[in-house]
Amino acid sequence: MSPVLRAFLIISALLLLAPLLFPSVYYYRIGVLVLINTLSVTGMVVLLGYVGLVSLGHAGFFAIGAYATAVLPAYGIPPILTILVGAIGAALVAAFIGKPILRLKGHYLAIATLGFGMLVWMVLSKEAWLTGGPDGMVVESIDVKAPFELLGIKIKTAIAWYWICAVAVVIGIVLATNLANSPAGRAMRAVHESDVAAASLGIDVARTKLTAFIISAVYASVAGSLLALFNRYVTPDTADFLHSIEIMTMTVLGGASSVYGALIGALILTSLPQMLTVFAEYENMMFGAIMILTMVLMRQGLAPAIAQLFSRGRK
């Protein structure tokens, strides 16, 4: 079975079966958040897992998508179309800033991307005439139930959102898996492991990095647009430094090398805080401790560790 087909089948099956565990709309909401996070993390897998670049500013792209969706309808662009406009905007911004900053390495790249995220955050909080300032703005809602009603299915809004996001995630993961096993993806992985060797084979290292950066920005932007539509409200928090860190952490915790890691990382870090509410004021301590423990015990992330467990089981 090709890796793409396998990913498609596994992820689709998981997403189809998951609702069996959802007793209420609240669980669907968590499900939707997991899926939206999975989407931005998948983009990060392309960036970190494929070409090996660290970004601490991806929330900036996420917010570009979210605010495109929030702001543009007032200028006559239909909400659905804003997802596309946001994605194109994020791609252009990524291309523009990526050129100079992707020359930087390691921690220098980290601080440059972090600075980018901060700048987006600042613009969103200070330009209140456009963005509503730190308190955010309302997003024009869309009727997500319509397509289902067309098929004669009566469905709650949150559940409709779950299926829409599930489709988006499956598409996102299939695209990323396709990429991994394609000429362009091979070039990315080659750059990751040795940029001198990659260059000696004619691979334009800067361009390859930029391509991955743009792709990951588009993923984040689409995820941002979806969250804005789903929440019907956006605030500059979407661009917050801590949100960037969150995307990064999900990626690494899940295992940056595979798209499965994206789903696992997003699932754990989205649902964990919900479970930890029972610890009340110890919540943060628990959360931090779990993060440390997971990374110490499973350096490559959860997905590879789980895969290893399975293959051992098979033997």
Partner: protein, 290 residues
């Protein structure tokens, strides 16, 4: 004139705090190649512990050392429980571990102390000193002096002492350092302890000016990190200059351009510097051997 001097004072005070945090980053980076994102929490441990002790009647000369010792214990525990077991893990994994540690420490302080904002009186009173028509708080002098002393001690330590040489050797080639008989584990533990002490000292000195609360470390780490990158990773001089530059840029932007975008200005300068000097002001870009 008096405005200019006033902006300088503001920039130097704030910049010196960033510099102290950046120096703590530098120490750990030099020993282990890790950027310790929980460095900001060391600063808070220093400030919070001192504040709480002073509030319960302990004099500052006793409270400060206790606070620094508390931070050192936290730093060593962090190394022992989280960094050492993960040695050899990919760099991003280590970054995530230190981020986890920072969340953990924040949670810990929130339960051990509280969520209130704390401060205590400046060491030499609160009466500002007039210089060239500008007002300087005596505590600012303490802060500036503190960061300079830490800088000098750090340079001396790294270049003149056996332990410092061990740290530098460990960072440049851990295997070679091991072969040369350096106990790399205890060397790194030492780096974490010293870095925690540096951070806590910054917290002790800065709290009368900056105030402190359990979650103040995030911003500290952010600015300190930015300062180190501006100066060039791993260079003590870079950390010092980088921190002070960022403080000055913020103050002058707030004073002469717009207070709305003073943080943005700092980051724009970092972008520009990195564009022309990809290794920061004092950093070196390593040439890869192939």
């Amino acid at each position: 004139m008096s405005e200019f001097v006033q902006f300088c004072f503001s920039g130097l005070t704030v910049g010196a705090i960033y510099a102290s945090v950046a120096l703590g980053f530098t120490l750990i980076y030099n020993a282990s190649g890790v950027i310790n994102f929980s460095q900001g929490e060391f600063v808070v441990i220093g400030g919070m512990t001192t504040a709480v002790l002073i509030a319960s009647g302990v004099p500052i000369w006793l409270a400060a050392p206790i606070a620094i010792i508390a931070a050192v214990i936290a730093g060593m525990t962090l190394y022992k429980l989280a960094i050492e077991p993960a040695r050899g893990a990919p760099l991003v994994t280590l970054i995530i571990i230190t981020i986890g540690a920072s969340i953990f420490l924040r949670g810990l302080m929130q339960t051990v102390f509280d969520k209130q904002i704390h401060r205590y009186e400046g060491f030499s009173g609160e009466q500002s000193i007039a210089i060239f028509g500008a007002a300087l708080l005596p505590q600012s002098i303490w802060i500036l002096g503190g960061s300079l002393v830490v800088f000098v001690l750090l340079v001396w330590f790294l270049s003149r002492t056996k332990a410092g040489n061990a740290i530098r050797a460990t960072s440049s080639d851990i295997l070679a350092a091991k072969l040369a008989g350096i106990n790399t584990n205890s060397t790194m533990m030492l780096a974490f302890a010293l870095s925690a002490a540096t951070g806590a000292l910054a917290g002790v000195l800065a709290t009368p000016v900056t105030f402190t609360s359990y979650d103040a470390g995030v911003l500290m780490a952010l600015k300190g990190f930015a300062a180190m990158m501006l100066g060039g990773v791993g260079s003590p001089a870079g950390a010092l200059i980088g921190g002070i530059l960022i403080g000055l840029i913020e103050a002058f932007t707030a004073g002469y351009i717009s207070s709305d975008y003073k943080d943005a200005a700092a980051f724009l300068v970092i972008f520009l510097v990195l564009f022309f000097m990809p290794g920061g002001l004092f950093g070196m870009v390593r040439v890869e051997r192939v």
